[in-house]
């Protein structure tokens, strides 16, 4: 929980970079300074995690209505059965005891039992996690590469036709709701319009009758449209940050020096300007990684992808509170973890931070 971790814009990153932090330890060795820095960040992350647990606990206790009634909706149940169910889910205990139980269990990985699937929330999440990681991981790699590449091109030829087209297209796609784009892609490429047959499956992750390499191809075939949707709506942010941080660097004296040495334009860009401009972009990518898992809720729902986002949607429609609660903790935990990684990585990339 620091300025650098919470940066949404390069301006805030820049602010964090110039902050005269930890001057007291300036005399200590660089390793010790970094360790102190790491300790501070770790402590911050633990506090955040605890805050998430507190939020998730109380957020779901203010829900109007009786969870046991929701569970048994539409069935004849006796008062004894309701009491037994309450006892089973620990809903008859005092609030503070429920809270300490919840925190204790959450720390050991026990997130409760799903009302809907009658299975432990932890194992449900673990089962769906790989699919989400595969989908979002692929999308992140593609949109980062695309954003950095196009952002660099845009900044280097700033104001040109290519720049205006690139930024315009990226901003337009950024304004598009991801689920809508997904649905249109399904109509265009899966359902097939007129004489054009469906090229890609409408949803799911596999057809189920393939093995080995064929299976890999099958999954890849199912991934094309969801990944395309995620990339299209997400790459704008990388592009814009990369573009503006490169433009910031382009005024630098060291670039003039590099040019004066007689380096080709290409070499100046690739070996001098881009590595420096990458710093804010990398931070932003990590923070985005935390967002992307949660952002895939819509895309996974639209494409019936068997991941965490789809599970969240299923849990919402009941509503299956332990499952929603568990997923909330996992999504927030992912953000905290990614912020922490960005914080820890940043001083290694930029020596001005954390000294």
């Amino acid at each position: 929980m620091t300025t650098a971790s919470s940066a949404d814009t390069p301006a805030v990153v820049a602010e964090a970079r110039t902050e005269p932090r930890g001057r007291r330890f300036a005399a200590a060795g660089p390793v010790l300074t970094y360790l102190r820095y790491v300790g501070g960040k770790l402590a911050g992350a633990v506090v955040s995690l605890f805050a998430v647990l507190v939020t998730s606990f109380f957020l779901f206790r203010i829900i109007p209505g009786d969870p046991v009634r929701t569970m048994t909706h539409g069935r004849q149940v006796s008062v004894e059965q309701l009491a037994a169910l309450r006892g089973q889910f620990g809903l008859d205990l005092p609030m503070w005891q429920q809270f300490t139980d919840y925190c204790g269990k959450a720390l050991t990985g026990d997130l409760g039992t799903s009302y809907q699937f009658h299975a432990p929330v932890g194992s449900l999440i673990a089962e769906k996690l790989p699919a989400t990681l595969l989908l979002t991981g692929t999308a992140v790699v593609i949109y980062s590469a695309l954003g950095i590449w196009l952002g660099t091109r845009s900044a280097w030829r700033r104001g040109g036709l290519g720049d205006r087209f690139n930024t315009g297209l990226a901003l337009t796609l950024w304004s598009v709701p991801s689920f809508w784009l997904g649905l249109l892609l399904i109509i265009a490429f899966s359902v097939g319009a007129g004489p054009v047959p469906g090229l890609f499956p409408t949803g799911g992750m596999e057809s189920g009758d393939t093995t080995g390499f064929g299976h890999v191809l099958d999954v890849a075939h199912h991934m094309v449209l969801p990944v395309l949707t995620l990339v299209a709506v997400q790459y704008a942010q990388t592009l814009l940050v990369m573009r503006s941080s490169l433009i910031d660097e382009m005024g630098g004296d060291y670039l003039t020096t590099a040019r004066a040495k007689g380096l080709r334009d290409d070499a100046v860009r690739r070996h001098h300007a881009v590595p420096n401009a990458l710093l804010p972009t990398v931070t932003m990518l990590f923070i985005n990684l935390g967002h992307v898992a949660a952002g895939s809720i819509l895309v996974e729902t639209v494409f019936s992808w068997p991941g965490l986002g789809g599970l969240f949607y299923q849990a919402l429609s009941v509503p299956d509170l332990p499952l929603v609660q568990g997923l909330f903790v996992v999504f927030a935990g992912a953000m905290i973890l990614m912020n922490l990684l960005a914080d820890l990585l940043y001083p290694l990339l930029d020596p001005r931070v954390g000294r």
Binding site: T3, S48, L171, W174, V176, W180, L183, S244, L298, V324
Partner: protein, 302 residues
């Protein structure tokens, strides 16, 4: 000359200055072509939304007195076809502009109001209050915004106010951080010291000196926040968490999906609401970026 004219004169001087700075702002804004496109787009959409009671009327939402049959293709009578209840999609699209814009504006206003309040208080008072407020801000920042908004909308009753509240209370931390930084910058200037020496209290300094100075920043944040709010509203409505009694663009998309528009390839049902959302969000984003560029010339180079 009587004494009563003095405040008048001071007032007119302040107004003249404000007019000047507004004119300066506009001259600078005019040079950003994308910002002008955004403004034009907004003008058109605002006109459509404001004249909707005259062009389509509230009846367009009515399920019982629907003019057409279910799921008609586009025709002369219904340029965009009809939905599963036989309502004109063009009419719904026009009426939906009111809901989407209202939710977007109110949610963004709420979010920016919270952010400005927290930011000014944290920046002005400093000390433990600032620490506590910034801790809360950081706490909200690490929460996945969309997930939190979805959870809030699930937990509370399904109404437009719930949606506005859910978006407003989850999206303010960025504004709070920016406003706090700006407040600290403003308060280090000599004229604040002068105001304090003349006996200006905390409330006076915050409302009369700091607030007008952070206002431009707040304006840019609001403009950018509206497009976010409109997209989130559409998302919540699509997930079935919106108000079921009113028609918003996100709700139309949900209806379309439920009516099987995807599997039957009825693209004319799906495409228009999404295009409308994208146009409004894009217009606000373009305006917000232009305002930002005017206020921060360093950004203007971008």
């Amino acid at each position: 000359m009587t004494t009563t004219t003095v405040p008048d004169k001071a007032g007119s001087l302040a107004w003249a200055r404000r007019r000047d700075s507004l004119a300066r702002f506009w001259r600078s804004y005019r040079t950003h072509r994308a910002g002008l496109y955004g403004l034009a787009g907004l003008a058109v959409i605002a006109l459509i939304a404001l004249t909707a009671p005259l062009t389509v009327g509230e009846d367009v939402q009515s399920v019982t007195s629907a003019p057409g049959t279910a799921l008609e293709s586009p025709s002369g009578q219904f340029p965009l076809g009809t939905d599963q209840f036989g309502r004109s999609l063009l009419g719904l699209l026009i009426w939906g502009a009111r809901i989407s814009l209202a939710v977007g504006l109110l949610a963004a206003a709420l979010s920016v109001a919270i952010g400005t309040l927290v930011g000014i208080l944290a920046g002005h008072y400093g000390g433990w209050l600032s620490t506590a407020l910034m801790r809360i801000t950081d706490w909200f920042l690490v929460m996945p915004t969309l997930v939190l908004a979805i959870v809030l909308a699930t937990v509370m009753s399904h109404s437009l106010w719930t949606v506005i509240l859910a978006i407003g209370v989850t999206s303010w931390p960025t504004t709070a951080r920016l406003v706090r930084a700006q407040t600290i910058a403003v308060e280090s200037r000599p004229y604040i010291e002068r105001a304090r020496a003349l006996g200006g209290g905390h409330g006076h300094i915050m409302s009369r000196h700091v607030l007008p100075n952070v206002m431009p920043l707040v304006l840019a944040q609001t403009t950018l926040g509206i497009s976010n709010a409109i997209l989130t509203e559409a998302t919540l409505a699509f997930l079935g968490l919106g108000d079921p009694t009113v028609v918003s663009w996100g709700g139309m998309l949900q209806d379309a999906r439920e009516a099987g528009a995807v599997s039957s390839g009825h693209w004319w049902y799906l495409a228009p609401p999404g295009i409308a959302i994208a146009l409004v969000a894009l217009s606000f984003t373009l305006c917000g970026r232009a305002v930002e560029a005017v206020l921060n010339p360093k950004l203007g180079a971008r």
